[in-house]
């Protein structure tokens, strides 16, 4: 009410109006925790809240400082890195970064990583989606067995079968190129479960209608089901990007030191070598972090929201 009064009045009070808004925020911050607004009058609560904020500031510092530090360290040359104890470099010399980018062939590994990510997204969406479509909507005779087996793989750790998987890849001669990495994204139990849950919530009448209109099951999938499932498609795409970008164990075994190595494989090999320049390793770390961080800040809300819902279901 008061705010309206200020806004309706003459020019001079516009300032008042914004000042009032500020005061209002200060006076009644939304409290969602144990400490409620009615506690604020109790002696000691203010001090307690101050402690809470100090601890939160410490948390932010602990979470972000290492990232900040490595970016700063990347500006240092090897001699400075090994002698200086200052956080900031003596000069913000971008040529350190550009030299590493050029000399270590990171641009090529970047490109390879993008290939891996792109193919993984395609496989993750189409293959897992079609399997989930079968399990959730088509439900042919015997689908329950597949559903159970998928749940089983959700529970069994992937790394356990790393050795026989590596052998199989060698046997069929898929090593040395992206195929195993792309196809592995198509066998993700977690994605199948996410898709399946979403498909089951779709209105069945639409699917039935498309069948009556003469769509084949496959057409229904690509033209009706997938377009209706945009939210889950976005989420699975984001997860796939992160996973495909960050994975290094299977890519290392499959691609090794070949021309197709990804950023993470490159970083892993660098980190295991004793003779390598530490400054180059740290700069490669920075390069490897850039795409996930960009992705995070673009899709921040989607990613964090989903971490919650997925976590609760899991």
């Amino acid at each position: 009410m008061k705010k309206e009064y200020f806004e309706e009045s003459s020019d001079g009070s516009l300032k008042n109006s914004s000042a009032y808004a500020k005061v209002k925020v200060k006076q009644a911050p939304e409290r969602t925790g144990v400490i409620r607004s009615f506690d604020l009058g109790v002696p000691g609560t203010k001090i307690g809240l101050t402690v809470v904020y100090i601890l939160c500031a410490a948390l932010v510092l602990i979470a972000l400082f290492p990232v900040f530090w490595v970016i700063m360290a990347g500006f240092k040359d090897l001699r400075e890195l090994n002698s200086s104890t200052a956080i900031f470099p003596s000069s913000f010399d971008f040529s350190q970064y550009t030299t590493t980018w050029d000399q270590s062939g990171i641009s090529r590994t970047y490109l390879n990583s993008f290939y891996v990510v792109a193919g993984s997204i395609a496989c993750a969406l189409v293959v897992n989606g079609m399997l989930a479509y079968g399990l959730a909507i088509l439900k042919p005779a015997g689908y329950k067995l597949i559903g159970r087996l998928v749940m089983l793989s959700l529970l069994t750790p992937a790394t356990i079968s790393l050795v026989p998987l590596f052998m199989n890849i060698q046997r069929v001669g898929m090593g040395g190129f992206f195929w195993p990495l792309w196809l592995a994204a198509g066998a993700n139990a977690f994605f199948v479960v996410l898709f399946r849950q979403f498909f089951e919530s779709l209105p069945f009448s639409i699917i039935e209608a498309s069948r009556i209109d003469g769509c084949s099951p496959l057409q229904t999938f690509f033209q009706i089901v997938m377009p209706l499932s945009k939210p889950i498609v976005v989420v699975i795409t984001l997860y796939t990007i992160n996973a495909a970008w960050s994975d290094f164990l299977l890519p290392y075994l499959v691609l090794g030191n070949s021309q197709w190595q990804t950023v993470m494989v490159r970083l892993f090999i660098l980190s295991t070598q004793q003779t390598i320049n530490d400054a180059v390793v740290l700069r490669t770390v920075v390069f490897s972090m850039i795409p996930p961080i960009l992705l995070f800040f673009i899709f921040q809300k989607k990613l964090t929201e989903n971490a919650i819902s997925v976590g609760i279901k899991g």
């Binding site: 409620r36 979470a63 490595v70 199989n168 740290l282 972090m289």
Partner: protein, 301 residues
Amino acid sequence: MKKIKSRGRDKLKYTLSAWLIMLPGVALFIFFQWGPLVQSVQMSLYETRNIELVRFVGLDNYISVLKNHVFIQALANTFSYTMWSLLIGFFIPILIAMLISETARAKGFIRTAVYVPNILPGLAAIILWKAFFSADDTGVLNILRGYMGMESMAYLSEYQLVIPIIVVIATWKGAGATALIYMAGLSGINPQLYEAAAIDGAGIWQRIRRITLPAIFNLGSTLLILQIISIFQIMYEPLVLTMGGPDNASLSLMLLMWRYAFGGGTMEFGKASAVAVLITLLLTVFAILYSIMNKRKVTWE
């Protein structure tokens, strides 16, 4: 009669086309998930040379793995990882979630900042922390020690410290995401409960003990078991940070499996699979314990 027949044929056609749609997925699952799982067991019973199974040797692989004193150490280390992870990794996310829930201003910023470590590629985060714990005078923690007038220290070569340090690093990486889940749990608490408790004279600590903690108890027990299962498979961190050293002090069971398979250039896949099967058996025990706990949870409510 003809109609029924054609309906039967339609149904067959439908089933076939449905399975055809599921086929790529099923095939990939067989190749990448179910097949390797079965092969793991099979391979553990065979002598292997490179990628070939040479001959059936029964439980020989298991016996030689179990007789190796390194296995006992890796097992003990893995339990040590688990214990430290319970001490450090379990409570910190709860604390973070409760702290952030108490803030009113800048909540979104704090939440985002705490989540950032989680989005970094795991390998990049580990190498980053390797530089922090570097034994040189310019390792970040040694710089801090220098300010306090202490000698530099080779953290990752300390027999007693190496496992807790690795757990701290893993916690730094994962705590933000776990805290986010707890925050969702906390925001589900009915505020009227707090108000009613306050009217009844409950102070802030009492409200935390009687309302907040019981409310996230179920969530906590689920996340606890998931955490145990994941820390039990710890491998990347010791592989990159210490290679299992010093003197096998940070060797985990999974890393032992990696060593048998890809470590020494010998490619002892049979023994590696035996270790993998043993890990799976141990994890199955945890899973059974979890389901028992889950049953009790229902009655608790």
